[in-house]
Structures are given as C-alpha cells and as structure tokens.
C-alpha cells in the first residue's frame, strides 16, 4: 500500500477532506459488522467498486487480514481478464476466496445469448447469490453498491435487512441514525451492508488514483475485438458468442466503464489508457455509467423489483 500522509498530519486541526471522511466512515462500518455479526462475507464482483471496498477492508483491520472470506457469485460469463484478476488478487492478499456457481442454471444451460439478460441475471446472479448465502450460512454480506448509482439505491440503508427468504422490503426499513447501526436479527435473517454507500463514481475513481488500487485492465483502453449490437459494442471474449451472419468482429480501441457478464456489458470507444485519462473522460462524458449495463433497460423501476427479489 502506498504511504500517503493524511492531510490532517500536514496541518493539524484542519478539516478532513471529503475522501478522508468517506474512508473513515467506510472503515467504521466494516468494523461494526465484524464486531457484531457472527459470519460476515464480502461479495467480490471484481469491479472497481469491489476493489475499493476490498482496499478499505485491508485498511480497517490492519495489521490483521480482514476476518472474513471473499465470495464471488460466478455467472460463468464474466470476461476472462476478470477471472485472471480475481485469482491474482486473492492470492496476493492471502484471502479466502469462495466461488459459487448456480449448478442448476448450468445444468439447464442458462446463458445470456440463449435466455436473455433477465433470465440469465435472475438465475445465475440473484438465485446463485441466495444459494451461496444459504449454503455457507453467512449472516452479513458486504456489497459495493453506491447510492448515486440509481434512484432506488438512493433510499436504501447502509445496513439493509433481508428476510430469511432474502427479500427486501422498501417500506419497512429500520431508521438509521448517526453512525449507530442496529445489527440485531432473527435466525435465518441476514444483512446486506454497503460500506461505500456515500461514495460517488468520481470519488471511487479519485480514490483508486490516489491510493494506487489495482483494477482489472479492461477499464483501460486497448484494441479489442467487438461487434455492434443494438447500439452497444459487445466484446467477443470467447467462442461461446454466436456471430450473426455477416457479423465480423472489429478491432477497436475500447474500454469498459462497468464490468459484468461480457455479453451484457457494452464497451465505449476511447483512447483513455491511464487513470487520469479515464477520470477526464468520465467527467466530460454525457452518459451515466449504468447505461452500459443491459439489465437496467428492461423496465422502469427494474432495479427496485430485482432488489425486492434479492438481487444486490
């Protein structure tokens, strides 16, 4: 980790910067969960938000390693570069990495090309997540969601309760005051905890830059084979992608603003191959980061519906 003297040490008594306050808040949240919950886990999606969350966990418990495992709910359709990065990170940090794949979904041959984004996401991601939580009996799961991502997220608590059936009830959320989190729950119930709730996309990028946090190379621009479908640039990441007649992958300078299953994640044409260039592009761009994700377009309030059903 890079040695970075905090602003407060440069000028004692001066105010903390916004990033220092966000970092301190996230660390306080991570520690509360570890102190009060029986079996926490960190959901690791390999993206930039997960990278920041993991970095904060390394800080929160230093010099001890984070006292919980990482869990990756694998849809089997992630970019190859994500799998490589995931395994390298777990090895480098010496953390336990649990990988769960919804075997029923695999047996039924569920995939984004054959079943569409909705069915694929529900079976491989939402159902897979529930299976994994039940299998290991985790009572608290950290997720890297942020309130600025989407309207229904803006109203979610930092500690979000799920029934024994993993359902979220937006009308019945516990009030959350100061930094006091009520972690009490009945047997079978669980909590999703979002330590970076109050971070924005810009905060995340700035922090990655400032702290030199490793991220998947797909965020940086490079020549990659893509085809254009319904206005999105989809990368041909492996030979499972069926090409339509006449469709020929083109090598283009592209990068990804968010990462997910490769058939569902649109690339953007870009020359940005450094962090400052990515941030610059993000600040100048005119479309929001979730637009690259196909799942959000399915229906109005779609995220809220998914969350009630147990999606993160």
């Amino acid at each position: 980790m890079k040695l970075r003297p905090a602003a407060a040490t440069e000028a004692p008594g001066s105010m903390l910067t916004h990033l220092q306050r966000l970092e301190a808040e996230s660390i306080q949240i991570l520690r509360e969960v570890v102190a009060e919950c029986e079996k926490p886990v960190m959901l690791y999606s390999i993206g930039k938000d997960s990278a920041v969350m993991l970095h904060l966990a390394m800080k929160a418990f230093y010099p001890a390693p984070p006292p919980f495992p990482l869990l990756h709910v694998d849809t089997t359709w992630k970019f190859r570069a994500m799998y490589e990065f995931r395994d390298a990170m777990a090895k480098k940090l010496g953390m336990d990495l649990l990988i769960h794949i919804n075997q029923e979904g695999v047996d039924q041959g569920i995939g984004p090309f054959t079943h569409g984004s909705q069915v694929h996401t529900d079976v491989m991601k939402t159902q897979g997540l529930k299976q994994a939580l039940d299998k290991y009996g985790f009572d608290a799961a950290f997720g890297g969601a942020r309130r600025d991502e989407e309207k229904s997220r803006a109203k979610e608590r930092i500690f979000s309760f799920r029934s024994a059936q993993h359902r979220w009830d937006p009308k019945n959320q516990r009030p959350e005051l100061w930094s006091l989190y009520n972690t009490r729950k009945h047997k079978g119930e669980s909590i999703r905890v979002f330590p970076i709730s109050n971070w924005t996309e810009l905060d995340v990028w700035q922090y990655i830059h400032l702290e030199s946090i490793p991220i998947v190379p797909l965020y940086f621009s490079a020549k990659r084979p893509v085809v254009e479908r319904d206005g999105s640039l989809i990368m041909v990441d492996d030979d499972r992608m069926p090409l339509k007649p006449g469709e020929v992958p083109q090598m283009k300078m592209v990068r990804f603003r968010t990462l997910g299953c490769y058939p569902l994640t649109g690339a953007v044409e870009s020359e940005a191959d450094t962090l400052p260039a990515i941030i610059q592009e993000m600040l100048l761009t005119k479309t929001s980061e979730r637009q690259g994700r196909v799942i959000d377009h399915d229906s109005a309030a779609s995220m809220e519906k998914k969350k009630q059903e147990g999606y993160f």
């Binding site: 040695l3 003297p5 905090a6 407060a8 040490t9 004692p12 008594g13 105010m15 903390l16 910067t17 916004h18 220092q20 966000l22 301190a24 660390i27 520690r31 509360e32 570890v34 102190a35 390394m58 800080k59 929160a60 418990f61 230093y62 010099p63 001890a64 390693p65 309130r147 600025d148 309207k151 229904s152 997220r153 803006a154 109203k155 937006p170 009308k171 009030p175 959350e176 005051l177 100061w178 930094s179 006091l180 009520n182 009490r184 729950k185 009945h186 109050n198 924005t200 700035q206 400032l210 400052p276 941030i279 610059q280 600040l283 100048l284 761009t285 005119k286 479309t287 929001s288 309030a301």
Partner: protein, 635 residues
C-alpha cells in the same frame, strides 16, 4: 457530466489535486408536502451538471408520463425513487443525493414532509451539518415548518437556510419575503439557531439557486449554491477534549494488541496520557497505527488503531479519553426520546440501547412530559406513540461513558431496539446524568447468592408461572411449594392477587400498569433469589416483552418459565372468581383474553396442558425438572 472546470480538458492532474482537497458538507432539506424539496434537489443536481444525457432523456419521458408540471421538466422525478412513491406522487422515505462543485462535495438527505414521517426527518438530520428549510412563499410558516425546525434544532443543527420558495408565484415580492423572514425569526428565537440565512428563490425556474437572475434585483444576499459552498462547517469537535470509541480489539498475534476505533472529538498524538472508561484505568498512547504507516497525530473523524504503552484491559464499547478531562460515567439519565414505532413506548418497559459501540439494557422510568412539536408545549404523558417526542428518565443495567448530546453527538445520541422484534423503535439524546446514579453503587458483599444457596442446600431459581386468569397457576404453584417444603427446601410464593393488595396497590390494569406490575415483581424475585430462595411467581404476565425482561434480570439458568396452558373457553368456563363474566359484561376493562392480549410463551422451559394434567401431576413434573437441573441439591 460536464464539470465546469477548464482544468478537466487542459490539465486533468491539476484538476484532481483541486478535487482531492475538497471538503464535505452534509445537509438536509425539509419543509411541508409540495413546498418543492424534491424539485430543489433535482435543480441542484441539474445545475451542478450531475445529470447525464441519458438520464435527461429518461427525465423528459418521465415528466410527460408522471410529471406534475405538464409539458415542462419535473425535476422532482429525478429524486423520487421508489415505485410506490411515484404512484402516489410524493416522497415517503429518506433519500441521499450527491453532487459536487469545485469547492465541496455535498450529501443531501431528502426528507419527507408528511406529518407521520417525523422519524425519517430525524434520521436525515442526525448526520447533517446544516438544514435547508423550505417555505412556500404563498403559504408562509406552517405547522410543519415549526415542527421540522424544532426537530432540526433538537438534533443539534445550528445553521439553517430558510429557502423561501415559489417566490415567482407571489410576483417576486420583497414584502412577502420580509414578512415570512420576520415570522420565522420570531419563532426560531424559541429554539435557538446560530445562523439563519434567508434566500428567496424559485426552484422550478432557477432564480437565486446558482445565479441571481433578473427577477429579484432587491435581493443582495448570497444565492443558494454560493452559500452552501462557503458556509463554515469547521468541526468544533477538533478543539474539544480527546474521545475515542473502541470498536474492535485487533490481536493478529501475541505481539500486537491494538484498539480499532474512531476519534469522535479532539486530537491524539503518541505519548498522550489517556484514561480508559468506564474502568478509569490510565495509560499512554504508544502508536497511531494505520495501513499507510503510523501517524504523528490524528483528529476527530478519523478511523485509526491505537496501541497503548501498558497492558490495560480495553474492550469493545470502551471510550479512550484525555486523562485529565474525561467524560462522565453513569447509569441513570434524563434523555429526550423520539419514538419511531407503531407500538408505543411504555413506562417500565426495557429496551436495548446502543450508544457508541456499546449495547446495554435501558428501562424507561417516569416519562416527565412529551412535547407538542407544533407549539413546543409540554404535556403530561404515560406513553409515547409513533412520532411523539418526550423527555424521560432512563435506568441502565450497567454504566456507560457519555457526554450530553449538545456537546457530542457520538457520545450523546443513542437508539433503542425492541428485544423481541429487533426493530429500531426509538432514538434518543442524553441530556444529563441523574445525581443518584453517581451515588448509589452496588455494595460488594462477602456472602453472596451462591453461599446463601449452599446453606439452604439448593440453587436459587425463579419459577415463573404464566397463563390466563383461571388457568390454575396459583393452584399448581401452591402444590409445588407444599412439596418443596416437604423436601426441606426454602421457597417463597409471589402471587399476583396478593402482591396487588400491597406492593402494587397503586397499579391498575392498563397496559402501562401491567408492565410496571411485572417490573416490580421481577425485581422483588431477583432480590429473593439473591437471598438464596426458590421463588415461585404466579402471575398472568401476558406480555412476552416483560417476561423476557424479567428473565434478563437474572443469570442464565435462574429463570424457568412455566406455561400453564388452558384454552380461553376452558378458563372462562371455570371462572372461579367470576371475573370473565364481569369482563364480558364490560364491567371489568383490560381483562386478559377478553379485551387485552395474552401472548403465549414461544419457548417456555415447561408447558403444562391443564386439559391433560391434573395439578398434582403438574407439580411433580415441575419438581422433577428442578431435580434434574440440580436445583434441589442432594435429596
């Protein structure tokens, strides 16, 4: 998202440097329904260029479909998130929104104007540095304005922006503005703010949000964004004495023992002398450990890990403080409570109380008064309903380290949690400790409960018989006591009816009185088992919460719940005392089973089905349970 900085395009590294040193302002917006809160926030997001093109397109489409502004863009739709709310056309929960400018990052809590949602406002205010109170210029000060301003002040916010909105609808009138401001100042004098900045504006059209615009040449004050960017929020906490809440003890190996936590006020340096509370032990800070290296100094707001020079006992929930200026440790307080749940707060009931990193049991002593938040009048009360605010005394089962809320939010703010449902049911602010709590300490005695029990050849225990009136509790308790006496064991039987003749003569049968009735009996039983007795309690005790509270008073294994299970029909048929008949005729109110609930035990140690078991056999079952549990010593 075109941040209005030329640096982005020309020198991104320089831009990042500027933004790295931004400060953070958290504020809440409050006001009545339709004052334009959501519109104002939507406008701030729009003006600070936080809205992307795809979001704008979606907004334009949504405005046509769900909007309340006809063909124009309805900024409120940007922030009204949940589907249910969209249908109703109102905001119903707290939403957090983010935007940033060159100088600051802002977190906005959008809180609802509905009367029944006071709890959400209190939630939003708890983390805010400043409040924007919206007023509809056409309507002036409303009941809601007063309520919200009072709540904002109660939660410790000292800076207010009075946003006099919809000024376009009163012809941009300076006179209207002045009248509202004067009204507000007269009201605010009662609740005390350090600073009130009034700004006339139109959130829908943008006047005085970012720029003054042409419509109000008479207004020379700051526009909203300019004020939010420049208002001083230097945390006074930095100049207060050092306080540190220990969240987690970090012991990765035998050589390292660190205390992970957050500084809630003051500063700390290695070498500082400190005191650990509540134990009072002193030591010195050895290191301020972080993953980025040890720090020479840390300030309020930072999460760090401290190590000490001595091997003193420190655990989660302890407070590490400046040695010569420590906070107070006490177990009885006066507090203001905001009730947040449908089930009322009752005098005498106990709740879990979380403060800092400690969770204790708090029992509600007399409620002194509740506050009419519209008039600030004090009213007598025996209970607090949803959204009521009251002042009461709290007695804790163990001492805590605290500071008055007005001085320190983190050591003075607490939440109350229901033991059964685990819901957060209330929030509170500690005001001061009660004198008596400092002076009455437990006297450590040489002869203790175990010693007294051994003398009597038994393990002291409470047998708590619960069930409907007429179930046969007293009959069975009586047989059990006779049999135990025959075995030479020392017992005492507390009977509901008998206790009500003396100790609880002043109590009736309302819900509060029933709670208090059980609290007293539980305390008496606790003293008796301390005397080494086997205590039989024969009480209807209809509420799970009170039985659980009684159980919590004593140690594990000292409380045996015996459910005397009879159907209501059977108990009513017996009606030994003629009470069911009276209850049915309405002569007797709040009678358990008729017009007051009986909550059957979910996991009683012993359940006696009186349809299948005669009193003598029931007594034998209870005795053999005692024998098997080793309560009766050697027989």
């Amino acid at each position: 998202m075109a941040h209005q900085s030329d640096l982005i395009g020309s020198d991104i590294e320089a831009y990042l440097k500027v933004h790295q040193h931004k400060s953070l302002l958290r504020f809440i917006t409050c006001g009545s329904v339709d004052d334009g809160k959501s519109t104002l926030i939507g406008r701030l997001l729009y003006e600070s260029k936080m809205i992307f093109e795809d979001q704008m397109i979606a907004l334009e489409a949504d405005s046509k479909k769900d909007g309340t502004r006809g063909a124009e863009i309805d900024f409120a739709l940007l922030v009204d998130g949940l589907a249910a709310e969209r249908e109703q056309g109102i905001t119903i929960d707290v939403a957090y929104r983010f935007f940033s400018t060159e100088r600051r990052k802002f977190i906005v809590a959008d809180t609802p104007g509905h009367e029944q949602y006071t709890r959400n406002m209190v939630t939003g205010a708890s983390t805010a540095d400043l409040a924007v109170v919206l007023i509809d210029a056409r309507k002036g000060l409303l009941t809601q304005t007063r309520r919200h301003s009072y709540l904002v002040s109660l939660l410790g916010i000292r800076r207010v922006v009075l946003a006099i909105n919809k000024i376009d609808l009163v012809g941009y009138s300076q006179e209207v503005f002045n009248t509202i401001l004067a009204d507000y100042k007269a009201f605010a004098a009662q609740i005390g703010f350090d600073e009130i900045t009034a700004i006339p504006m139109s959130a829908a059209y943008g006047d005085n949000i970012i720029e003054h615009g042409p419509n109000m040449p008479w207004y020379k004050g700051p526009v909203l964004m300019e004020h939010l960017e420049s208002v001083d929020v230097t945390d006074l906490g930095a100049n207060s004495p050092f306080r540190y809440v220990v969240q987690w003890v970090n012991r990765p190996n035998l050589d390292f023992r660190g205390f992970a936590g957050q500084i809630v006020s003051g500063t700390v340096r290695p070498g500082d002398k400190i005191r650990v509370l509540p134990s009072g032990r002193t030591s010195q800070v050895a290191r301020i450990v972080t993953a980025d290296g040890d720090l020479p100094v840390a300030v309020a707001g930072q999460s760090v890990t401290l190590t000490l020079t001595d091997e003193v006992d420190v655990s989660r929930g302890d407070v590490i403080a400046a040695v010569d200026d420590p906070p107070v440790v006490a177990d009885q307080f006066q507090a203001t409570i905001v009730w947040m749940h449908d089930d009322a707060l009752l005098q005498g009931r106990s709740y879990l109380m979380k403060i800092g990193a400690r969770t204790v049991t708090a029992t509600v002593m007399p409620i002194k008064h509740k506050v009419n938040v519209n008039t600030l009048e004090q009213l007598a009360a025996e209970r607090l309903e949803l959204n009521d605010i009251g002042v009461c005394e709290l007695a804790l089962d163990q001492p805590i380290t605290f500071e008055p809320y007005a001085k320190n939010r983190d050591l003075g703010g607490f939440i109350l949690i229901d033991r059964l449902t685990n819901n957060t049911v209330g929030a509170g602010l500690l005001e001061f400790e009660l004198r008596r709590s400092q002076n009455i300490h437990w006297q450590a005695l040489d002869i203790n409960k175990t010693a007294r029990g051994i003398l009597k050849g038994q393990k002291p225990v409470i047998l708590w018989l619960t069930g409907l009136s007429g179930a046969g509790k007293s009959t069975i308790a009586n047989v059990v006591e006779r049999k135990l006496a025959a075995l030479g064991r020392h017992t005492y039987l507390l009977d509901g009816d008998n206790v009500r003749h003396g100790l609880n003569k002043d109590l009736g049968f309302t819900e509060q009185d029933r709670v208090e009735n059980i609290r007293r009996v539980a305390e008496v039983s606790k003293l008796m088992i301390d005397a080494g007795m086997i205590v039989l309690v024969s009480f209807i005790s209809p509420f799970r919460a009170e039985r659980r509270a009684a159980r919590a008073l004593v140690e594990e294994g000292e409380f045996i719940e015996v459910f005397i299970d009879t159907t209501l029909a059977e108990a009513e048929k017996r009606d030994v005392k003629g009470l069911y008949k009276k209850a049915r005729s309405g002569e007797l109110k709040n009678f358990t089973g008729i017009d007051s609930a009986y909550e059957a035990p979910e996991s009683a140690e012993i359940r006696i089905d009186t349809a299948l078991t005669a009193p003598d056999a029931a007594a034998d079952r209870i005795i053999s349970y005692l024998r098997d549990g080793g309560y009766l010593g050697r027989l």
